[in-house]
Symmetry: C2
Amino acid sequence: MNEPVSLSLARLRRSCAECSLQQLCLPTGMNGEDIGRLDLVARRRRPLAKGETLFRPGDPLRAVYVASEGSFKTIVVNATGDEHVLGFHLQGELFGLDAIGTGAHRCEAIALVDARVCELPFDNLATIAAKLPSLQQQLLRVIGQSANHDHDHVEVLARRQANERIAMFVHGLSERYRRIGRPANDFHLPMSRDEIARYLGLVLETVSRGFSRLHEDGIIEVHGRRICILDESALLAAANGGDGGETPEPRKRSNA
Amino acid sequence: MNEPVSLSLARLRRSCAECSLQQLCLPTGMNGEDIGRLDLVARRRRPLAKGETLFRPGDPLRAVYVASEGSFKTIVVNATGDEHVLGFHLQGELFGLDAIGTGAHRCEAIALVDARVCELPFDNLATIAAKLPSLQQQLLRVIGQSANHDHDHVEVLARRQANERIAMFVHGLSERYRRIGRPANDFHLPMSRDEIARYLGLVLETVSRGFSRLHEDGIIEVHGRRICILDESALLAAANGGDGGETPEPRKRSNA
DNA sequence: CGTCGACTTGACTAAAATCAAACCCGGTGG
DNA sequence: CCACCGGGTTTGATTTTAGTCAAGTCGACG
């Protein structure tokens, strides 16, 4: 608590670099004093085994999380026991914001592989954000970005064909791997076909056929969960309806 | 500026009551001083004609809005000119939060009928929220609720059959009308079949058939955009797959 | 080497989109 | 007053898409 700010700062920078949460931990224009205060946000790492649950619906909002190692899925299970995947969270990505509205989580977060999270206790975060405009700004930005993701997800589910959804999914993952400094054209999927299907609103057979189709078309190489992207622009084209058949006269804006 | 707090307070209470934004303007436990500060959030009303645009993609985040009269839709138009409806915003409901992530709006907001909005300039809001924990709390809560709506929307689009989506939509609207003190079992839809379809990820014919089906089953009365709910519990049942055919063995949770 | 789970592939079916035609209703103008 | 638009809506017939059911195949691991 009484350590000099410089020390905290150095420690924070190191651990945040590992943790990849540049968005929140190392906001631009944050000065030493501010970072010193950020130190008050207790941070500890917790390991989880593959399949282990980090939080479940109804759990009170204690913290938001960053996948510091490994990856996670967030799911909702409806009354009929049917599971839907809301999102996948790769290394360095923030999740757990869903509880902000009600104070309790609405979905369940599960480790896809052996993993590790960095916790940011939310009450500390909120308290400090109140004193620290730049952090408040960052917090709102991060929340907003997560909402943007949801909007994109909605748009995909509402309008895109199965093969487009799959191409978009692969392309999107590729971009995210690039962002965290991993090979963007050769990676391993941390999730099953079934989980991809439940994320894209399809069934697993359709996802499998989609991958096969992309393979046949020479766009990607598939060996189980190992994906190599051979033709990035063709992938992007496929994601926008550019497969085999010609664009079938898109539905125009309503004029109600 | 130098008016006694009590006056501001009275004025605010009156205008907020009209505006129905209880969530943000009249948060529980806000004292007189706090409300006095809230007064600094400039608020003015703006009328819009049916079909008029309030903000469009790329517009900088200036304010968040409450539909103080009439209703709105928010849409995104993709590269092919295809329109998707992200949400409908009835009287008293807050919208425009989509710009928080990037500082610029990503969607377009259009008045469905002649309408009026209450603007809450965002920088003021953020500044004051920083000084006023209870408002910060409310702001986060409202944002979170909007994210929750998106999650629900995603789940509907991913998993529900056309008829279920339509029943859920009608039921959801009914609840929202109840909340704002309007008849919940007899109301007028402010949007066209086409707009409903674009919200639910269907085509207008499918929506029309869905309404007809609910009518045939004696669950609702339909005359164009006028809807009467005859059997609320049957509507809820239809929204959960309880129509004609028996539940076809729901897809269980993945065990990957 | 055999087993199990994840994945792929094929044949068939159900659901919703598409195409196309009528219908209803409020508004306009003869 | 009534005929005639025209948009939004309903309804029908047909096609397309993805889901379902059912075998297989592949690969990891004991």
